[in-house]
Symmetry: C2
Subunit: 292 residues, 2 copies
């Protein structure tokens, strides 16, 4: 499989097994003064589970490698574990093992394995004529991060979206069952669709009118004098799923059509909005998902 997919597929005794690892570092991916141990656990598990689901894989088990400063209280670690377990429970996966070491900076590496019925859904499967759809929210977590960064705690819905993403795993699996290509949106919609476009040697055009800007995002953007699309098109953290489908494929309920797969044209960006490069993209780097 081409490198760059959300997870890898290996054969264990002829059985395709999907495996993915994600590491979250304190001060880089989370702040312990912005989220409690439970929510950090939820988020750490979600990052890995979403990667598995984005391949069309049913998650089975997680293992966790924790690095924690000596002063970390065992109660904190137990709450973290509670969060990891509760998130895994959402997809009937289990936390089956782990390792813990002391270290100066808290970090959590979560590795998951999952099963696969049929072929994995890769980034490279998009075909010209496919439509593009998303399952899940966009921009909520990034807007929540912007709120927290400015020292605020409301709107609560945004802040909570950053602390603990609400990933619709069931919808992701349903989407994967019929998708040509798929990934989870962790780097931002434009960036992640760009990964699909490059891997598939196509371009993707987004229909701006199909992109919904939720009310709390619009109001916070207005208050901060920002373009809300910066968060919606450029923000990560929500772990929505983006997928492409054959034109005649019936869209699973809950997915929203946002664009289409078109011929790649030399020199043009791999992702366009209404046929043109996105004008806001110059400011995009600032909002890039920082898990790279």
């Amino acid at each position: 499989m081409p490198p760059g997919d959300d997870a890898a597929v290996v054969l264990v005794d002829q059985t395709p097994t999907v495996i993915s690892t994600d590491v979250l570092v304190s001060g880089v991916h989370f702040r312990t003064d912005w989220a409690d141990a439970y929510d950090i656990g939820r988020r750490a598990a979600a990052a890995t589970l979403a990667d598995l689901v984005a391949m069309g894989s049913q998650p089975v088990a997680l293992v966790v490698a924790l690095v924690a400063p000596a002063e970390t209280e065992s109660a904190w670690v137990m709450r973290l574990t509670d969060g990891l377990r509760d998130e895994a429970d959402l997809v009937k996966a289990s936390i089956v093992g782990g390792d813990i070491s002391r270290g100066e900076q808290l970090s959590i590496a979560v590795t998951g394995v999952g099963s696969l019925r049929g072929d994995p859904v890769l980034r490279s499967g998009a075909v010209v004529g496919d439509y593009v759809a998303i399952a899940g929210r966009l921009g909520w977590a990034e807007a929540g991060l912007a709120v927290l960064t400015r020292g605020f705690g409301t709107p609560r819905a945004l802040v909570q979206a950053y602390r603990r993403p609400e990933v619709d795993y069931a919808l992701g699996l349903k989407a994967a069952a019929g998708a040509h290509a798929m990934c989870d949106v962790s780097d931002g919609l434009l960036a992640d669709l760009g990964h699909i476009a490059v891997a598939s040697d196509v371009s993707i055009d987004i229909d701006a009118s199909s992109i919904e800007v939720a009310e709390p995002i619009a109001s916070v953007a207005s208050a901060y004098g920002m373009d809300p699309l910066m968060w919606v098109l450029g923000g990560g953290h929500d772990h929505a799923f983006a997928a492409t489908f054959a034109p005649k494929k019936r869209l699973p309920k809950g997915l929203v059509k946002i664009g289409s797969v078109v011929e790649r044209s030399e020199g043009a960006p791999s992702v366009t909005v209404d046929g043109r490069p996105w004008s806001g993209s110059s400011g995009h780097a600032h909002f890039r998902h920082r898990e790279n």
Copy 2:
């Protein structure tokens, strides 16, 4: 399976899959001024591969989550990856994915999956009457660490054993195929046999005369005024395999018989040397494997 085994077994589409994770942290498990990136990669992979093999599992694939300071050179990361890959090659396993994040302190979490023919070899399977045998070296890496800690670079064989353990995976798999119980020696022989004894509700008696102290270990211990058994019985890092076998079982070539499984007696230590608590054990904590 009881907690505390080297790895967990999960069913992926009815196929038993063994999974284990280990995290190594700079300044805790390795020092970049004591070992180069390549050897650190070898060691990081070995820790996880040995855990899989200790369960009787053939390693299949590894994923790596790396946290590295911003100033880490890409050449260093590439050498680390070379080391990981070369160690995995020894058991025909592949590095199939990874994640990288910046962070203040270098750490490497390696997660492995493996296949399983037959039942996993657990720590809890030891039976009274079994004999105890080891596959691999004991004390070399710990003596090497003692050498480095004192600022020396020789004997080179010991220092190199610490930098890059030489794990006999093939012998480990051969041992596992006939063992009642098994683990890899990462916490020190006494501690790890103690894990087997407690999990199996038995005691283990080591025959001191069977414990070989290799020449470089003896000479360094003599130079430092130390008891070499502190390293041989208490040292980790070498990733030898310790296993118990039914009395009539023919010992695979390369394994060395070092003791036997006896009835647990109330109040007595779970592991004895020549029938008595090991007198050197009070100093053991100092030499404990620091990966806990």
